[in-house]
Amino acid sequence: MLSRKLRCLALVAGITAGFSVSVSAQSTNIRIGGLATLDGPFVALGQEAFRAMELAFEEANYTAGGRKIEWIKESSDGRPDVALTKARKLIEQDKVDILIGPMSGGEGLAIKEYAKTAPTRTFVNGFSAAQETTLVSPAPNFFRFGADGAQWQAGLGNYVYDTKGYRNVAVVAGDYSFGYTQVLGFMSEFCAKGGKVIEKIWVPNGTKDFSSAIARIPNKADAVYIMMGGADSINFLTQYDQSGAKQPLILGSNVSDQTVLSAKGPFQRRLVGLPSAHMVADGIEDAVYKDYVAKYKKRFPDGLSSPSAPFYGYYVATKAVLAGLNQVAGDLSGDQAKFRAALSKLRLDMPAGQVSLDENRQAIANIYVTEVARAPDGSLFNKVVKVIPNVNQTLGHPREAFIARGVPSRDNPSCP
C-alpha cells in the first residue's frame, strides 16, 4: 500500500519536474505558431505559406531580439471552425506567444473574434483578406500587414472600363466573405465610372462542377469577372473553355495567382492578356523584387516558377513579427504591450513596396494592376500595367462614409 503511494508520488514528482523544464524553456525561447491550409481546396497556398515562414526564419537564423525562435505548424482546411480549433490548440496547448495565420477569409473572421478572448497573445494575419476582419470592431491584438481583398482590386475597375471598354459585366464568385470583399473592391470603381454589373452568380466554396453556373452567364455581358480560390478556379477555367463561351474574363486576385498560373492544363491558353490586380505581381521590374524572386528560386527549387501571393502574405507577416521582436529586444513582458506598440508603428520596406498600418492595424500598401503574359521560358506571369500607390482600406474614401455603405455581402454593393 505504502509502496504504491510512494510510486504514485514519484510519478507526480516526475511529471512536475517535466513541467518545470518546459516552463523554463518557454521563458528563453519565443514560440511562434504558423497556421495555414495543408488540407482542402487551398493546399497549394498552404505549402507556399509554410515555405514563406521557413525562408523568413532562416534569414533571421531562427533568432529575434536575441532570443531563439521555436516554430510550431498547424494545418486547417480553409473552414473557419477548423481554423479556430487549430488556433486554440496552438494558443492553449502549445502556448505560442505569437500566432501567424490564417489563410482564408472566413477563417480570418473567426480568428479575429478568438483573438479578443486571448488578449495576452499577439495575432498576425497570414493571407486572409475579408474586409470586416479589421474594418468592423477590430481586435486590439490582431494585426494585418497585407492589404484586404477590396484593396487588392484597386485600379482594376477603372482599367477595364477605360482601357478594355467593358460596360456590362457578369460576376461569378465564391460564396464567402473573401468573395464578397473582392467583388466590392472591383465594383466600387467600376460602378462609380458608370459600369453595370448585370448578374452576380455566387457559387459555394468547393464546387467542382461549374457548368450550370457558366450556363447562367447572360449573353449581353461584355466580360465576366471571376473569383474563386485555388483548385476551384482551375476547374472553372477548364469548363469555361470547354463550354465554348466567348466572353473575355476579368480575374479576381486568387485566379491570377501563381498557384493557378503554374498548374498544368489546356485552360492555360485562355489566360494570356487577362486583367487582374493584387498586392504583389510577379512582373514587378525592380531590383529588390528580383532579388526576392531569386532567393525563393534558390531556396525552393521544387517550388513554383515565382513566389505566389500567399507566399508574399506570410513572408511579410513573418518579417513584421521579426522586426517587431528585434525592436523590443525580444521583450514580451507586460502581456506583450511593448511588442504590440512596436508592431503598430512599423514601416516595412518589402519587395512589393512599403507597408504601414492604419489605426485599426490594417495595412496600407501598393496595389498592382496586371495582365497575364507569357515569359520567354513558356511560364505565365502577371505583367504590371499600372501601380496604385499606398491604397488604404477605405479605398481613399472618408472612413465614416465608407463604413456607412455597409459590409460586403451577396447584395452589397449593387449596380445592375
Partner: protein, 286 residues
C-alpha cells in the same frame, strides 16, 4: 428553357461520373460487406498514376488503363495484407481504411504537391459540339455518359452472366460452403476488391480529365459515393445508378437556380430517402 436543359444535361453527366466512382464502392460493399473508406484515396491514386502515364506516353487510353491497373494493384494489396484477416469485423475494417486514407493523402501530397493537375485530352474530345437549343456542349461530358453506360453493362454481365459472377454471388450468401466446394474464396475476395479499385481508379482518370486532380478530391468523392450508395441502396448496381442520377441532378439544378442551398439539397434527398426507405431506394436488409 435553355438553362433548365443545360442544368439537366450537366446533372446527367455529373451523375455518370458519380456512378462510375460509386459502382466500385457498392461492388465492394455489396459483395464483401467491407465499408472501404479508402475509396477516395484509390480515386486519387488512379488519377495521379493516370496522369503520370499520360505524361510519359502521351496517350489517353493508356492513361485510363494505367490508372485502373495501378489502383487495382494497390486495392488488392490493401485487401490481401490488411482487410482479409478481419473479414466480418466491420468496425476494424472501417478504422483501417480511414487510417490508410489519411496516410495516402499525405504521401500523395508529398509526391505530387498541392497544385492541380489536368489532362491534355485528345483533340477530338476537347472543346464543344454543336447541339440544338443549348448551341454547344462539351464533347467529353457526352463521352462520360457513354463510359458510365458501358461500366454498368459490363458489371451487370460480369455478375449475372459469368462463372466468376456466380462465384461472387455464392460467396456473399455462404462463404464457408463455397470454400468447401473447392473454390479459393480469399482469392475471389481479393479479385473483387481489385475490380472495385480498378473501377474507381478508372473513374479517377475520367474525373480528372473532365474536372481536375488536386489534394482533397479523395474526401469529396468518398462523400459523394457514400451519399449515392446510401440513397440508392448498399450493394445494388441499379440503386447506384439511380442514386447517382438523383444526386447529380440535384447538385446541378441547385447550382443553376439556388446556388447557396445546392449543397444542402443532396443531404435533404438523403434524409428523405432514409426516412421513407431506410435501406435506400433499391436496397434490401443486409
Amino acid at each position: 428553357m435553355k438553362l433548365l436543359l443545360l442544368a439537366t444535361l450537366n446533372g446527367i453527366t455529373l451523375a455518370a461520373l458519380y456512378f462510375i466512382v460509386a459502382s466500385g464502392f457498392t461492388l465492394i460493399f455489396g459483395m464483401m460487406r467491407v465499408v472501404n473508406l479508402a475509396h477516395g484515396s484509390l480515386y486519387l491514386i488512379g488519377a495521379y498514376l493516370g496522369h503520370d502515364v499520360a505524361a510519359l506516353s502521351g496517350s489517353f487510353p493508356l492513361a485510363l488503363a494505367g490508372g485502373a491497373l495501378g489502383a487495382a494493384l494497390v486495392g488488392m494489396a490493401i485487401h490481401y495484407f490488411l482487410l482479409d484477416r478481419y473479414q466480418g469485423d466491420d468496425l476494424r475494417q472501417a478504422l483501417i481504411t480511414i487510417g490508410l486514407s489519411i496516410i495516402a493523402a499525405d504521401l500523395l501530397l508529398a509526391r505530387y504537391g498541392g497544385l492541380s493537375y489536368q489532362f491534355e485530352l485528345p483533340e477530338m474530345f476537347y472543346g464543344s459540339m454543336p447541339m440544338p437549343i443549348v448551341s454547344g456542349y462539351p464533347i467529353f461530358r457526352i463521352v462520360l455518359i457513354g463510359l458510365a453506360i458501358a461500366v454498368y453493362l459490363g458489371l451487370w454481365l460480369l455478375v449475372q452472366r459469368t462463372r466468376f459472377g456466380i462465384m461472387i454471388r455464392a460467396g456473399v450468401d455462404d462463404r464457408h460452403m463455397l470454400g468447401a466446394l473447392g473454390v479459393n474464396v480469399p482469392l475471389i475476395s481479393t479479385l473483387v476488391f481489385g475490380l472495385g479499385a480498378a473501377l474507381v481508379g478508372f473513374a479517377g482518370v475520367v474525373g480528372s480529365a473532365s474536372l481536375s486532380i488536386a489534394p482533397g478530391e479523395d474526401a469529396r468523392y468518398l462523400l459523394s459515393s457514400l451519399v449515392v450508395v446510401i440513397v440508392g441502396g448498399m450493394g445494388s448496381l441499379p440503386g447506384a445508378a439511380i442514386g447517382a442520377l438523383l444526386i447529380g441532378l440535384a447538385e446541378q439544378i441547385g447550382l443553376a437556380y439556388f446556388p447557396t442551398y445546392s449543397i444542402i439539397l443532396s443531404f435533404v434527398i438523403m434524409v428523405a430517402v432514409l426516412a421513407w426507405r431506410p435501406y435506400g431506394l433499391m436496397g434490401r436488409p443486409a
